[in-house]
């Protein structure tokens, strides 16, 4: 079972709304591998702040529209 982080995201939905951008395209724009984008979307990996900003800027939305932090 995948280990979930406290940080959730809507990367998949944003990617779909951005003309169905592929994971590979998003990965290339954010300087990470496609597998890292997959892991982020599945909640198995929390990106660094820098990568989080890159993802938000790719979709042209504020950071907190992409990522949410849930108190335990």
């Amino acid at each position: 079972m995948a280990r979930k982080t406290r940080v959730t995201n809507s990367v998949k939905a944003l990617r779909f709304n951005a003309d169905q951008m592929t994971q590979a395209d998003l990965a290339a724009k954010c300087d990470v591998t496609r597998q890292t984008i997959i892991a982020i979307e599945q909640g198995r990996f929390t990106p660094s702040l820098e990568t989080a900003f890159k993802i938000a800027r790719t979709f042209n939305v504020p950071l907190d529209e992409v990522f949410e932090y849930h108190e335990v």
């Binding site: 280990r3 982080t5 990470v32 591998t33 597998q35 890292t36 892991a39 909640g43 198995r44 660094s48």
Partner: protein, 142 residues
């Protein structure tokens, strides 16, 4: 699978294959010679050279076949650090055993093979940790 994860699998497989072969060879010689009297030095050197060569060739072949050379990203680096961190504990603990053997003036065959065993075990624990982390994700807060 990223190039880094693939590389981890290659190293783990090569470790099991080559060191397993070495162990079988040494234990085979033990049928005719007491273990501590076996001339293992040349075989050990050959094994290390074969191990390194196997890893290099495997990486090259895989890169050619898959045409995938990703380079590592932040997730790869985090997983690598965590794997090395866990393996480091195994290595440190195991080296205490080697130290005790040396202080007890044990025959060098046993000291050398205790050190080798610790290195192999640490490498396998590191690789297993990384593979598990690639599949399940990093621990919270790491």
């Amino acid at each position: 699978m990223t190039s880094e994860e693939r590389s981890t699998w290659i190293v783990a497989a090569a470790t099991v294959l080559i060191y397993g072969w070495y162990a079988i060879k040494i234990l085979g010689d033990a049928a005719t010679t007491p273990l501590s009297k076996i001339d293992y030095q040349d075989l050990l050197i050959v094994m290390v050279v074969v191990f390194v060569a196997l890893i290099v060739v495997s990486h090259i072949l895989l890169a050619v076949v898959t045409r995938q050379v990703d380079g590592s990203d932040e997730r790869d680096r985090k997983i690598d650090r965590f794997g090395e961190y866990i393996g480091g504990y195994v290595l440190g603990t195991g080296l205490l055993v080697v130290l005790v053997l040396a202080m007890a003036e044990t025959e060098h065959f046993w000291i050398a093979h205790a050190a080798l065993g610790v290195l192999v075990l640490a490498e396998l624990v590191t690789d297993a940790t990384k593979i598990i982390l690639y599949r399940t994700g990093l621990p919270l807060g790491s």
